[in-house]
Amino acid sequence: MIRIFIYIVRKGMNFSQKSNIVAINTVRQGKVRRAMAARAVDIKPEDRDASYWAALMFDIAEKRDKEAFQSLFDYYAPRVKSFIMRSGIAEITAEEVAQETLLTVWRKADKFNPTLASASTWIFTIARNKKIDRLRKDARPLPDANDPTFAGPGVETPETTAWHSINAAKVHAALEKLPEDQRKVLKLAFIEENPHAAVSEKLGIPLGTVKSRIRLGLEKLRTLLAEQRGDFS
């Protein structure tokens, strides 16, 4: 009986010692990781998620960290260029638009607000505006209620701060849950110049099917987001 008791106590001690060691190691690793990654640029590629890009944006805005900008540039500029080229714009112009986009990112980094949008979304919106600027003669800013480069006392009312119930990570998660056909059509639609027609041609499916898949995809996304939040409309 006593032996059994001792055995249990020993086992228990062993267990707690082990878990202590695990805990200490975790703390150590955490410290090491934090020490190693005092700057976002030092985070390993496999650990890069939305918060990594947001941290880079922060370093660019606060510290004018050129290395952080370089990391951001190396990832996004070639993708922005590709995105611009997809709307039928020549490579040389697409290169310029991508440069202008990234330069705006550098200059307006302090306008980036991670609670409003992910870095990808912010850059997407700037790229889209730069693309349209190229196609316009008018020098005035684009009338876009959510234009991230619109500075100043916001667009309207106190609700502006509350309106973003959209969370980048949640949208990403919800997108991954969509049926493949809907996800494919939705993503293509946001890249192509003439969404419905271009997607129809590219995927070889009728225009009506494209439209209904986009509609169904968005409905499903809203349902998924509503399940997470409870009051999304």
């Binding site: 070639p78 080229m85 990808s120 008018d138 209620a145 667009v155 946001f190």
Partner: protein
């Protein structure tokens, strides 16, 4: 914020978010969105999908490095941000959406209006592109002459309201009409109706007199 009943559909917002519209439509849509929580959420959702799609683009090599870009770029000019003010108009008893104010350049009350008839006034907003945006003012109970559309007509009700067939549109609502059959918006009786509207093709008037006047009024 308004309690709009009529909102742009998803295909319209998709086109808006991806930059498919002329400036005139963008002014109307942005004015609606800036006052509509529901549409702000929808636009944010659309933009997030755009961001995800951007990340999945096949990279195309840049011809310049990040540091060279910073080196070669002209020195940063601290351009003053476009002032976005929201004016209150006594005449119309409304607060103009800030984005609309930017394009008008002055307060609603200070605008020059062009009389199309004793009960109909307009102010054309200069914007790039072939579509035209304008403010239209209708006296209480009066109507816009019967007209149809070759292209899309997008209308944001700023003040008052109108009936169009069986539907009633009031402040904040966005009314999109792309039908070729003539329609006749009739202002509600209680007060004048002020709308912001964009069209990408001349309206098709059914009556002979509006037709004759059309070239002069850029409608």
């Amino acid at each position: 914020m308004t309690n709009a009943i009529y909102h742009p559909a998803d295909d319209v917002l998709l086109k808006y978010v991806t930059g498919g519209f002329d400036t005139a439509y963008n002014i109307v849509l942005a004015s609606h969105v800036s006052q509509c929580l529901q549409c702000q959420n929808s636009v944010a959702l659309h933009q997030e999908i755009g961001g995800q799609a951007l990340v999945e683009q096949k990279p195309v090599d840049m011809k310049i490095s990040a540091l060279d870009l910073l080196e070669s770029s002209a020195p940063e000019i601290d351009e003053p941000p476009a002032p976005i003010t929201s004016d209150y108009s006594q005449t119309f008893d409304i607060k103009t959406p800030g984005i609309l104010s930017t394009y008008l350049g002055k307060a609603l009350d200070a605008l020059k209006w062009q009389s199309l008839s004793p009960s109909l006034k307009q102010h054309v907003i200069k914007a790039d592109g072939k579509a035209v945006a304008r403010l239209l003012w209708m006296a209480p109970g009066k109507s816009v002459p019967p007209h149809g559309h070759q292209g899309e007509e997008m209308t944001l009700i700023l003040s008052g309201g109108y009936y169009d067939g069986d539907e009633a549109y009031t402040a904040g609502d966005l009314h999109i009409a792309d039908h070729k059959t003539p329609h006749v918006p009739v202002a509600m009786e209680d007060k004048p109706c002020l709308v912001l509207t964009a069209t990408d093709a001349p309206l098709i008037f059914s009556g002979i007199i509006p037709k004759l006047l059309q070239p002069f009024y850029k409608i």
